[in-house]
Amino acid sequence: MSSRIPHIASNTFREAVRDRVLYNLIAFAVLMCGASILVGQISIGIERLVVINLGLTAVSLFGVVIAIFIGIGLVSKEIEKRTLYTVLSRPVQRWEFIVGKFLGLAGTLVVNTFFMAIGVFLALLYVSHRVQAADGWVLVALYFIVLQFLIITALALFFSSFSSPLLSAVFAFSLFVIGSFAEDLRGFAAMAQGVAHWFATGAAYLVPNFSSLNVIGSVAHGQGVAGALIFSETAYAIVYAAMALCGAVLIFERRNLK
């Protein structure tokens, strides 16, 4: 077991790279360059604000799209193309396969985010002409975005283990949107009464809490993030991703492969 999971993970990473996923970085770079230059021309006093908001939102959205598009096929494609047969006839357990796939895609997203982060900081440097202390918080915002990726990847993988790519994409994307309003959903639930109240509260706590992982707004205004919050959010992301992966393992373990 000790080395099989990393091998599956690195093979998944290799697949993503050869699938020309990393080309999205070119689009991102173009976007960042364009934005910084434009903002530099229209000196409106909020250059930093715009660059951080735009840059981090782009990192987040690009990443979520990649996570969903690759994630939904991670298992279903292998079953469809029957490439899984020769893998599972080896001493590889089904759960190892799931975990390996997750780590591979998560790794791809981390690498992708790393390059994008460089782009954002370069743009920031261009408009600010110097490095500021507040830039450190941008790193925290990026870290939170990576935590979001962990959750969405695990969810896409979960859906991929039993559903077709199209349906998986719909479910994953819906959960992303709903999760972005998770705090409001809890508010709605608090205002409901009777059976609806319990039902809504349950749903509100089960839905991934993307709203609290989105600190782009506060970081753009130069506000910091409490250390305790960073710690709790990290724990939450890990625990939630683990939960989705357990679901994926339970389903995949039982599946009759076609």
């Binding site: 357990q93 089904r94 759960w95 309003f181 705090e183 409001d184 809890r186 508010g187 709605f188 608090a190 205002m191 706590y205 089960l206 809490n209 609290s212 707004g217 506060s218 753009a220 205004h221 409490a226 305790a228 919050l229 709790s232 959010e233 724990a235 939450y236 625990v239 939630y240 683990a242 939960m243 357990c246 679901g247 393992v249 339970l250 373990e253 039982r254």
Partner: protein, 308 residues
């Protein structure tokens, strides 16, 4: 040749544990974020910009901001806050996104106008908000009522209140009291009876639970004030008749001035003090009291009582 039992057990247990832990962590995070949430909410405080950003889903976004406004006010009110700075922007954004959301204007009239800790203490802004509502919903009688309500309760501006009620009474299907109140406002504006009529109308016509609870609280306070005034005038009558103060309500009964021992809206009897004043036994249950409280009494932060 079944799915591995070991894997199933471990995965199921881990799933349960993770689920419970994630809920617990969420509560921690909520507690930590608290105020930060709403400040973030208002980073885009220009309603016009928000409207564009919502990609046409104005209605949904309005509903979300409405929920946030109610949550904001509710949690702060519960904690007895003295500042409600974000209520006005929240309501303004809500109504900018969906000008037909009449509950938002009603909420503003009832909770934006009154002074803290019961409201944000911004009657002018409440008026602006309601006027905006009227411009966008000229056939909604309730908005004219809300406008008149603000003028009456917070600004004590009876002539503007009468104007608003008069305009409103001309709207088809308007509540019949609007006409009555328009007529009587000028002369009897300051009277208890007027206030009772106002709050009753609010209580009957609103669909918002918070507004109704608030109206009921006011009505109870008015009832107590009326009872206290009546009882104190009976005490004065007794004194005029017998030359001394009554020891208890039974004295008033035997003097033929009182038929039954009076009780407050919660069913407790009133207290007759040695110096002839009437007091309510549990003043904490009656926020907004101006009469019938013991001397030197300081009201605690008001809470909405649940039973309405």
């Amino acid at each position: 040749m079944k799915p591995s039992r070991q894997v199933t057990m471990v995965a199921t247990t881990l799933l349960m544990v993770c689920m419970l832990t994630s809920v617990w962590l969420l509560r921690q995070v909520d507690r930590m974020r608290g105020a930060a949430t709403l400040q973030e909410v208002l980073y885009i405080s220009s309603p016009a910009a928000l409207k564009r950003l919502s990609l046409g889903y104005n209605g949904l976004l309005a509903d979300i901001y409405w929920t946030r406004a109610v949550q904001y006010f509710g949690s702060k009110h519960f904690a007895g806050a003295q500042h409600y700075d974000l209520l006005a922007p929240l309501l303004e954004i809500t109504t900018a996104l969906d000008p037909r959301l009449t509950v938002a204007y009603e909420f503003g009239a009832n909770f934006l106008a009154p002074p803290p800790p019961n409201g944000a203490g911004m009657p002018e802004r409440a008026i602006q908000l309601t006027e905006f509502g009227i411009r966008n919903n000229p056939a909604e009688w309730r908005l004219y009522y809300d406008l008149g309500f603000i003028y009456y309760t917070e600004l004590k501006d009876y002539s503007h209140a009468a104007d608003a009620f008069a305009r409103g009474s001309q709207v088809p299907n308007a509540h019949p009291f609007l006409r009555v109140m328009a007529a009587q406002m000028a002369q009897h504006g300051g009277e208890l009876r007027m206030a009772q009529m106002m709050w009753s109308t609010t209580y009957q016509s609103t669909e918002d639970r918070n507004v109704r609870a608030n109206a009921a609280t006011h009505l109870r306070a008015l009832q107590v004030e009326q009872d206290v005034s009546n009882l104190e005038s009976l005490v004065a009558d007794y004194r005029a008749k017998t030359g001394r103060l009554p020891a208890s309500f039974t004295d008033l009964q035997s003097a033929g001035l009182l038929r039954e021992i009076p009780v407050d809206p919660f069913g407790h009897t009133y207290k007759l003090t040695a110096d002839g004043r009437v007091e309510v036994r549990t003043p904490d249950d009656f926020p907004f009291l101006t009469k019938g409280t013991p001397p030197g009494y300081v009201a605690p932060p008001p809470r909405f009582l649940p039973s309405d």
